[in-house]
Amino acid sequence: MGGEAINRKEEAMAQPVQAQQADLTAIQDLFYRAAEMLEEGRFLEWVDLFAEDGVYTAITAANLKDRGLAIFTDRGRAGLRERAAYWMGMWQVNRGSTSHVIGNVRLVGRDGDQIQVRSKFIMTRMNRDGLVDLHTAGSYQDVLTERGGALLFQHRRVIIDNRTLPSNFTDPL
């Protein structure tokens, strides 16, 4: 899968600055809309931001350096819809408002019609006392693809800095 193929080919990016800016704006818009959909519970819209055979996976930084034991891996629209189903009620967990602040969005490579992007995020969550806690933080490593004029997620890997998860880690990352 594309995700494993993320490697920095920055030298290959001999693209006019202006085109890069346009890409970056489109990429950021995709990322921000994705986060907003997740925060607002528009999960099926979020599924449509992925390519038909898109992959969504999460892993700890420690396990990424080890054999690669994932927290979860969803493949294809069916897998993504299954995850949406869990968010929509297959889990009986309590929910609190979350915020994903995404920063450091950076093009790191381009391979045919695929764009490789890295970014950082901090995610907060309202706890059961009603206060906002830091929930997790880490990186997104994305491979995006253009289909019909729109950018889609081909492979989104969420790398979290945790080695130990907090309780109730079922919120969308």
Binding site: T73, R81, Q92, S167, N168
Partner: protein
């Protein structure tokens, strides 16, 4: 407290009731550390994690930090993760290789793979003829069964195999020859026993986990057993319902909650992993806090250890396994999917975390001080999978350790 109600629950025999204070009282927790965690065999890891000389694992039995090594002679050794000089931890990672020795970062004292002081920098200031052995780190007992490594802080405890007793069989059946895929941990805000309860409780799954509920919705009397073994261990077993390839049908139920159109096939290819369909699902529980989950015909194989952190705080350490001879495709699949339902992010365990959190939040109620354990009351150690058989067994062992009458 409403004494009338308390009275009515008292009508049950006392060994089938739990005083809910055991889930939150600090004094009970402190006593459990001394009388249970320092007296029983505690899980460390798998021998394959200590393949080479100098490999080590660290483990904490509450506040007792230990190191387990593969020593020069190829044997396992365990000793305190604690410098005999001023007490600094010698190893700070869960896992590693220390070479020949642990060198303390504070004053550079070095200890060999058995915890013996072998390097004493600027030694002369300790006077002539200093006896280094006076500063050896005390060893603790370490034994393994089915390549699972355990330590015990009590020199008077029976040996590991005697301790395991009846639970040895399911361990061997499921895990005789495995490799480690990785580790993952999570916290939950609740007492460690809530996890032991949950692993012995085949009753909750249908209601806690909507997916499981969907499977059994139309099953009047489902198959499966809970077996209690002496000393608080147990084995929960149940078969795989229906055609295992028919997950697509189940998935339709899941996707139904989204209200979305979907066109997943009615049957899916079996995952490319070694499985044993006939064995179904097994959860082998080792008293007090270890739960081996061998699920979906072995396509999910995870050890869970509930580490007590405080009266209302527990960390669950998980180790994911694969058969030693799993294919590369199988390994890839397992790395991606083993944890899918486990951990506090898991499709199943996520709900268990919620359940134990809700208990912790509400369990202090003055008006409801007792929890009944009277489901499937009958003689013997074998019950239907939804019976409280193994819960009664667990608390009998718990009472033995704690020295409270049954």
């Amino acid at each position: 407290m409403d004494t009338a109600t308390r009275g009515s629950l008292f009508d049950l025999p006392s060994d089938r009731l739990i005083d809910r204070g055991i889930y939150y009282e600090p004094a009970v927790f402190a006593e459990e550390i001394e009388k249970i965690f320092k007296k029983t065999w505690q899980f460390v890891g798998h021998e394959s994690e200590l393949a080479a000389i100098g490999d080590y694992l660290t483990v904490d039995i509450y506040d007792q930090r230990l190191i387990v090594t593969r020593a020069k002679d190829g044997a396992l050794r365990a000793f305190y993760n604690n410098c005999t000089h001023r007490g600094a931890a010698l190893a700070t990672e869960t896992k590693g290789n220390c070479g020949n020795a642990f060198r303390c970062m504070y004053h550079g004292w070095s200890f060999d793979l058995e915890g013996r002081l072998t390097g004493l920098p600027r030694r002369s200031s300790y006077g002539p003829g200093v006896d280094l052995s006076m500063y050896n780190i005390p060893q603790v007992r370490v034994e393994s069964f089915a390549k699972f490594i355990f330590v015990c802080l009590d020199s008077a405890a029976p040996d590991l195999e005697t301790f395991l007793g009846g639970v040895k069989a399911p361990l061997l059946e499921t895990s005789a020859d495995v490799q480690v895929l990785g580790r993952l941990s999570f916290f939950y805000p609740g007492n460690w026993k809530l996890w032991s309860d949950n692993a012995r409780d085949g009753y909750h799954a249908e209601y806690t986990h909507p997916l499981v509920g969907a499977v059994y919705r139309d099953v009047a009397e489902s198959a499966g057993t809970i077996q209690h073994f002496a000393k608080g261990h147990s084995k929960l077993w149940w078969p795989i319902e229906g055609d295992p390839r028919n997950i697509g049908q189940l998935q339709e139920k899941i996707l139904g909650v989204t209200g979305a159109q979907h066109n997943s096939p009615g049957t899916r290819p079996m995952p490319p992993v070694k499985i044993d369909f006939a064995r179904g699902n097994v959860i082998a529980a080792i008293f007090p806090n270890v739960h081996l989950q061998w699920l979906m015909a072995g396509s999910e194989h995870v050890m869970e250890i509930a580490r007590p952190i405080g009266p209302k705080q527990t960390r669950v350490d998980m180790i994911a396994f694969a058969p030693a001879d799993e294919s590369p495709e199988g390994i890839a699949f397992r790395l991606a999917k083993t944890m899918d339902s486990h951990s506090s992010a898991g499709k199943v365990t996520g709900d268990d975390c919620e359940a134990v959190t809700r208990i912790t939040e509400a369990v202090h109620a003055d008006g409801v001080q007792w929890t009944p354990l009277n489901r499937g009351l009958k003689e013997g150690d074998l019950g239907h999978k939804t019976d409280d058989t193994a819960l009664r067994g667990f608390y009998a062992a718990w009472r033995d350790h704690m020295g409270v009458g049954s």
